[in-house]
C-alpha cells in the first residue's frame, strides 16, 4: 500500500533526516514509528500525509505519488486539531463539510464521494453523545481525542496516521483509547501508522515497529511484534521482552 523509495529529506541548514531511505507498508498493517526526539518520526508521518515533500525519492500510496493530502488518509495530531469555536458534533462533521464544500472533485474529495448520514453513529460509537453540543474547551483530553478519531473515521479512510495522539492523556484513558483505536482499525480494515516516543505504546500498538535513530536515517530498522492486540498481551512476558529489546536498541543507538 505504502512504498517509500530512496527518500531524501532535510530541513535547511540541518543534518538530513533521511538518506536513501526505503520502507514498505502493506494494507491493513498496524505500524508504530518509535525513536528519540528529532529523529524524524513526525516528519515521516507528514510525508505520508502529503503535508511535507521529499527532497528526492518517492512516497507512493496505492501506486500514486503523494503530492498533496490524500482524501483517503486520515491524520490525528497530538493536540487533536479540533476547532475551538465548533461543538463536538460540528467538529465531527467537519471533514464531511469540507468534502461537501468542494464536491467530488478527486482532488480534495474522492471522485466517488457520496455524503453519508453517519455522523450521529460515530458520535454514539465513540461515546460522545452526552457532550455532542459542548465545545472542545469543555472536554477532557480523552473526549477531545475521541472527537478527533470520530471526525477522521467519519470520512472512512483506508489509512490512519497518528502523531503521538495519546501522549497527554492519563494512563487509564490512554489504554482505553489505544484499545479502541486497534479495534476500530481492525474492524474497518484501516492501515495504522502511529508515531510515538513511548516504548510501551509502540509495543502495544504496532504489529510492526519502525525504529528511527538520530539522523540521518538510512535503513528502516523493523521489529516484528505479532502478539500485540491479543488478550492480556500488555501483562505478558513477550510484551516486557519486546519493551526491553526496543529500549536496549534505542539506548545502543543513542550511545
Amino acid at each position: 500500500m505504502i512504498n517509500i523509495q530512496s527518500l531524501e529529506f532535510e530541513y535547511t541548514h540541518h543534518t538530513p533526516l533521511f538518506q536513501n531511505f526505503n520502507w514498505k507498508i502493506s494494507r491493513g498493517e498496524t505500524w508504530a514509528i518509535l525513536g528519540p526526539s528529532g529523529c524524524g518520526k513526525t516528519t515521516l508521518l507528514y510525508l505520508l500525509a502529503g503535508l511535507k515533500f521529499p527532497s528526492s525519492g518517492e512516497v507512493t500510496i496505492n501506486d500514486e505519488q503523494i503530492t498533496r493530502p490524500r482524501p483517503h488518509s486520515g491524520l490525528i495530531l497530538q493536540d487533536y486539531g479540533l476547532l475551538p469555536w465548533s461543538t463536538v458534533r460540528e467538529n465531527v462533521e467537519l471533514g464531511v463539510k469540507v468534502r461537501n464544500f468542494y464536491g467530488p472533485d478527486g482532488k480534495h474529495t474522492p471522485d466517488n464521494f457520496i455524503p453519508k448520514d453517519n455522523i450521529e453513529s460515530w458520535i454514539q460509537r465513540l461515546g460522545l453523545s452526552e457532550v455532542a453540543d459542548k465545545f472542545p474547551a469543555q472536554l477532557s483530553g480523552g473526549q477531545r481525542q475521541r472527537t478527533a478519531i470520530a471526525r477522521t473515521l467519519a470520512l472512512e479512510p483506508d489509512l490512519l496516521l497518528m502523531d503521538e495522539p495519546f501522549s497527554s492523556l492519563d494512563a487509564i484513558t490512554r489504554e482505553d483509547l489505544q484499545n479502541l483505536t486497534l479495534s476500530l482499525c481492525e474492524e474497518q480494515n484501516i492501515t495504522l501508522v502511529i508515531v510515538t516516543h513511548a516504548i510501551e505504546e509502540a509495543a502495544v500498538l504496532g504489529k510492526k515497529i519502525l525504529l528511527l535513530d538520530a539522523p540521518p536515517n538510512q535503513t528502516a530498522r523493523i521489529f516484528e511484534n505479532p502478539n500485540t492486540g491479543k488478550n492480556g498481551y500488555r501483562n505478558s512476558p513477550e510484551f516486557h521482552a519486546m519493551c526491553e529489546r526496543l529500549w536496549s536498541e534505542m539506548h545502543r543507538s543513542a550511545s
Binding site: Y46, P69, P71, L75, W85, S86, F101, Y102, A137, T152
Partner: protein, 246 residues
C-alpha cells in the same frame, strides 16, 4: 460584569453629574434631570433626525471598514508572502493620524456623506486590518495541517479556519474602534453639513447657547456609542459562544 453593575455605574454617574451641577450652579452645566426632559422633548422634534443621520454615517463607515479590512487582514495574515509585502506598508501608515486628512478628503470627495464615511473608514480600516492580520497569522499550524489532512485547500481554510478564528478579533477591533469612530463622526459633522449630532451639539452650544439642548445632543451621541458597543457585545455572545464557556 452584569447588567446590575452597569445600572449601578449609570446611577453613580448620574448622581455625580447632579451634585457637580448643583455645586457649579451655572447655565453651562444644567442638571441631568433638566437635560433628560429636554432630550425627550427634542427627540420628538429635530434631534431624532440628527441622530438617524449620525447613526447612518457611523454604521456605514464601520461596515465599510469591516467589509474591506477584515477580508484583507485574513488574506494577508493567511499568507506569509503577502504578509512580508504588506506589513511594512501597514506599519508605516498605521500611526499616521488620519483625522488630519479631513480637509483633503473633503476637497476630493465633496461635503456630502461620502467624505465623512471615508474618513471614518480610513481610521477604522487600519485598526481592523492589524488585529485581523495578527490573529490570522497566529493560528496554530497544527490546526491548519489538521484541516488540510481532511482535504481542505485554501478556500476551505478561509471558510472553516481563518474566518471563524478571526471573528473575535474583528469584533474586538470594532469595539475598540467605536469610541474613535464616534469622536471622528463629531469632528466631521462640525463643518460642511446641517445634519448630524456633531452639527447639532455645536450649533446648540456655540451658536444658540442652548445648553440643555446641547447636553441632550451629547446624551444622544453617548446613546449612539453605547448602543453600538452593546450591539458588538451581543454579536460576540451570539457568534463566539465558545469564548464564554468554562
Amino acid at each position: 460584569m452584569t447588567r446590575h453593575d452597569i445600572l449601578l455605574a449609570a446611577g453613580a454617574i448620574f448622581l455625580l453629574w447632579q451634585f457637580t451641577a448643583m455645586i457649579v450652579d451655572m447655565p453651562i452645566l444644567p442638571t441631568p434631570i433638566a437635560v433628560i426632559i429636554v432630550f425627550f422633548k427634542e427627540l420628538q422634534n429635530e434631534l431624532f433626525i440628527h441622530f438617524a443621520v449620525s447613526l447612518w454615517r457611523v454604521t456605514a463607515g464601520m461596515l465599510l471598514s469591516v467589509l474591506v479590512a477584515a477580508p484583507a487582514g485574513l488574506v494577508i495574515g493567511g499568507s506569509k508572502r503577502l504578509n512580508r509585502i504588506f506589513s511594512p506598508i501597514i506599519y508605516l501608515l498605521y500611526p499616521i493620524p488620519k483625522v488630519v486628512f479631513v480637509p483633503v478628503v473633503i476637497l476630493f470627495l465633496g461635503i456630502g456623506d461620502t467624505s465623512k464615511i471615508i474618513i471614518m473608514f480610513l481610521i477604522l480600516f487600519f485598526q481592523i486590518i492589524v488585529l485581523v492580520r495578527d490573529q490570522a497569522s497566529g493560528i496554530a499550524p497544527q490546526l491548519i495541517q489538521s484541516l488540510q489532512s481532511l482535504g481542505a485547500g485554501r478556500r476551505a481554510l478561509f471558510r472553516f479556519v481563518y474566518l471563524p478564528a478571526s471573528l473575535p478579533s474583528i469584533l474586538t477591533a470594532l469595539r475598540q474602534s467605536i469610541g474613535t469612530a464616534v469622536a471622528v463622526l463629531y469632528i466631521t459633522e462640525l463643518s460642511a453639513t446641517k445634519y448630524g449630532l456633531g452639527y447639532y451639539i455645536y450649533y446648540k452650544g456655540s451658536t444658540l447657547l442652548d445648553y440643555p439642548s446641547m447636553y441632550a445632543g451629547v446624551i444622544a451621541m453617548s446613546v449612539l456609542g453605547l448602543g453600538m458597543y452593546f450591539t458588538v457585545d451581543w454579536l460576540e455572545r451570539k457568534w463566539c459562544q465558545w469564548k464564554f464557556v468554562n
